[in-house]
């Protein structure tokens, strides 16, 4: 395969990894943020955690793989992004560390204070990454100051511009909605009702934020000159999915509603990558300083090797990860008699 084709393939693969991560860990983060609010009693909280219990770790590997794939295929992108967004990534890591440990530790001691502490660790560890990833992706689409040595020249405050913050709010709200519908779908009884009631309110917030986001995207990014006033099917379908999800929530068709919020997440992240392509880090200092799939990529040899590895192993991973979702497809109850220890 030609060098350009390989570079494009890896841009698309990394986009898919991020999209997969946002889709999977998106409802995970939502569930984590909702845990202290939707779970009134201890067994209810356990039931809520159990909706993602077998999956959250595997979901998080999508992030690690996205990071690893970026390092392997576009080392310059990895270097500029990770060193540039350093403080945000530090907070993201602290969040993920607390969250992962909390899932494992919270039920291993019966002391209510111990459990409450870890439940809030799950909340913080879900909220911080959700917020920061939104801020990060909005800034990736908008562009950040990068000099002629591919070095980021801003700081944390540079990222916290209005568009970045709006992106952060958008991901938090979207993941809350996505997670609430997931809980409504996966748990029986009261919790499902509470999650539905929450999803109805969250949906309104998501719609409002989406409108703001669409408008802001026309102003803050170069979407118009790149994709035109009519940005094409992907962003438009994303908006349609958001609207449709409201209808399905109202009719309590949770499977469909979840399908719609999934589409919303997938298509929104895809739009961010569409805005970026073929750039991977947009420089606001000078467009000529932007990192692109050609100046940021690994050698043709490395990309070829990695393509072969990915072609062999990605289908295997998808099959067994999908299979475990099938195993745990049934609804969970918070009835203590039916909970096993």
């Amino acid at each position: 395969m030609s060098y350009e084709v390989l570079q494009t393939i890896w841009f698309v693969l990394i986009a898919i990894l991020w999209i997969g991560f946002f889709f999977l860990e998106g409802f995970d983060f939502g569930v984590g943020m909702l845990l202290p609010f939707l779970g009134k009693k201890d067994e209810e909280r356990r039931a809520i955690i159990n909706t993602i219990g077998p999956h959250w770790d595997g979901n998080e590997v999508w992030l690690l793989t996205a990071g690893g794939a970026t390092f392997a295929a576009f080392p310059q992108w990895y270097a500029t992004l990770f060193s540039g967004f350093y403080p945000a990534l530090f907070l993201l890591l602290v969040g993920l560390i607390l969250r992962g440990v909390a899932f494992e530790f919270r039920s291993k001691d019966a002391n209510p204070k111990w459990r409450t502490l870890w439940d809030w660790a799950i909340f913080v560890g879900s909220f911080l990454p959700a917020l920061l990833l939104g801020v990060a992706f909005a800034n990736l689409a908008r562009g950040v100051p990068i000099d002629n040595t591919m070095t980021y020249t801003g700081n944390l405050l540079t990222l916290l511009n209005p568009y970045g913050l709006l992106g952060g709010l958008m991901t938090v709200a979207a993941f809350l909605l996505h997670g609430a519908i997931f809980i409504a779908m996966k748990v029986e009884g009261d919790i499902s009702e509470r999650a539905t009631a929450f999803a109805r309110k969250a949906w309104i917030v998501v719609v409002v934020l989406s409108v703001l986001m669409v408008v802001a995207t026309y102003f803050y990014t170069d979407l118009v000159e790149r994709l035109g006033i009519n940005p094409g099917i992907i962003p438009l379908a994303g908006i349609a999915a958001i609207l449709l999800s409201g209808l399905f929530i109202h009719r309590k068709r949770y499977g469909w509603a979840f399908g719609m919020t999934s589409l919303m997440v997938v298509l929104t992240v895809a739009t961010a990558f569409l805005i970026m392509f073929p750039r991977v880090m947009i420089s606001t200092t000078d467009p000529a300083f932007s990192l692109t799939i050609s100046n940021a990529s690994s050698s043709q040899y490395t990309l070829t090797v990695m393509t072969i590895v990915a072609a062999i192993f990605t289908p295997i991973v998808l099959i067994y990860q999908g299979w475990t979702y099938w195993i745990f497809r049934k609804r969970i109850t918070a009835d203590p008699k039916k909970l096993i220890y």
Binding site: G68, L81, F82, S83, Y86, V309
Partner: protein, 464 residues
């Protein structure tokens, strides 16, 4: 403060901390898999209790290894962006493959193992713990391939235009003897760590005459046998690695031995008291010719000293100090090696106990066994500190220096903030981790079984 130094401290703290948990994950996974296999085959309740008890401790430890591992994946780019640019073409590949091949495997099947006991056939449940053990050890292989390349770069060329290292032979990278020696040493150390963990906790219960005596006697015997085999394996790996060092990283070898001048035959320093410069010697104890044997399996060969190699490197790479911090390399090696010797004696004692049918006279010594759990941890940490600091001033041996590898955009304040942040969070988590490990280790098998009320009023999964 110097950003390079701060980034080095952060890398050292986060990595040593991460590797506190990893060896136990690597080794204990095999233990639990073997226990469950024996339960699967025999239906013997003892093995079910063993699986549950050690499995619970495995899970508590596993979580810590996973979350601290995420930092590893990110911090090359965060603190070492120039390194990432320079080596990304080569180094990124094993990292990405590690995630794709190993992380998905271990995390997905661990979820299935924890939550799926009543949802999948027994054989599938058993297979899932084996896949977890395979996945975590595979992950060790790929990260060691990456690290092996930093110690001894192979299969690359320097791109004339960009001046960066570029992969030209993937199979040279993954077939690097350095990496496979690391892998041999590391998985053996993992088994040693798990063995001592099991020995120590079992001994504690046996000493207190726990009602589940059989559970702990069987565990103890299994750990004694595996521990001894793994210790011999570590020793052989270490010896082979010493000889590889002489060829590929002679400076590391010389600084481990505080060997300033080239000697033929070379003597081995058991203890040197002085300032390690070779100039102000207070007292030393050396064994003649032993270093020659360590270096090349015969008692007469020449082993090159620090001064010689320094002169050669100055010619090759220009002026500079190419000597690692010898006080660290010298003493970490002796701590690692000393811990290994004591572990060997302890393992002999453990074998004696089990094969002499637990003689009463010897049982009082079991009291000291839990303390021995510290030994593999000392050896694991000092071993890696030795490996990494022995490469200084290089981040990639002979190609890139540490000082040229840091992210240029980071100020000292930013790094100091994250350094303090990670340290505080890690310290707090260590307290919680040790609390839970101790609690479950002391509580015995009953607490790890589903029926346990104290431990879990409402827990894990549902029946439907």
């Amino acid at each position: 403060m110097d950003p390079v130094l701060l980034s080095r401290w952060q890398f050292a703290i986060t990595t040593v901390y991460h590797f506190f948990f990893v060896p136990l994950t690597l080794g204990l996974g095999w233990f639990v898999a073997i226990m469950q296999t024996r339960y699967y085959r025999t239906g013997d309740e003892t093995y079910r209790k063993m699986t549950k008890f050690w499995g619970k401790l495995f899970l508590i430890n596993f979580a810590m290894g996973v979350v601290t591992g995420i930092v590893q994946e990110f911090q090359f780019g965060m603190n070492w962006s120039e390194y990432s640019r320079y080596v990304g073409d080569i180094f990124g590949a094993p990292l990405a493959i590690e995630a794709l091949l190993a992380f998905f495997l271990e995390s997905t099947f661990l979820g299935l193992w924890i939550f799926g006991e009543n949802k999948v056939p027994k054989g599938v449940h058993l297979a899932s713990i084996w896949l977890v053990a395979i996945g975590s050890n595979l992950s060790a292989l790929w990260i060691l391939i990456a690290n092996g390349w930093m110690q001894h770069p192979v299969g690359f060329e320097i791109n004339a235009v960009t001046g960066r290292a570029q992969l030209v032979d993937f199979f040279a990278l993954i077939g690097s003897p350095k990496a496979w020696l690391f892998f041999w040493h590391t998985i053996s150390s993992g088994l040693v760590t798990a063995a001592f963990f099991v020995l120590g906790i079992s001994a504690w219960h046996l000493f207190r005459k726990n009602k589940d005596e059989r559970v702990f006697k069987v565990s103890f015997q299994m750990a004694a046998i595996i521990g001894m085999i793994a210790l011999v394996s570590v020793g052989l790996a270490g010896h082979t690695q010493g000889q590889e060092l002489v060829t590929n990283q002679p400076m590391k070898m010389a600084s481990i031995e505080a060997l300033w001048e080239t000697e033929q035959p070379a003597s081995f320093s058991i203890i040197t008291i002085g300032d390690l410069t070779g100039k102000n010697l207070v007292w030393e104890w050396r064994v003649p010719k032993l270093l020659s044997f360590i270096a090349c399996n015969n008692f007469d060969c020449e082993v090159r000293g620090v001064n010689d190699i320094q002169a050669e490197y100055e010619q090759q790479y220009g002026p500079g100090d190419y000597v690692p911090l010898m006080v660290i390399t010298y003493w970490t090696f002796r701590l690692m090696f000393g811990a290994g010797i004591i572990m060997f004696l302890v393992a002999l004692f453990a074998l004696f106990l089990t094969f002499r049918n637990w003689p009463n006279k010897a049982m009082k010594w079991l009291k000291w066994m839990p303390l021995m759990i510290a030994l593999p941890y000392i050896a694991n940490s000092t071993g890696w500190i030795l490996t990494e600091t022995g490469r200084q001033p290089w981040i990639v041996q002979g190609l890139l220096k540490v000082e040229d590898a840091v992210s240029p955009n980071l100020g000292a304040g930013t790094i100091l903030m994250s350094l303090i942040g990670f340290t505080v969070v890690y310290a707090a988590l260590m307290v919680a981790d040790l609390y839970l490990l101790t609690k479950y280790a002391k509580a015995g098998p009953d607490a790890a079984l589903k029926e346990s009320v104290d431990v879990a009023p409402t827990l894990v999964g549902t029946e439907n």
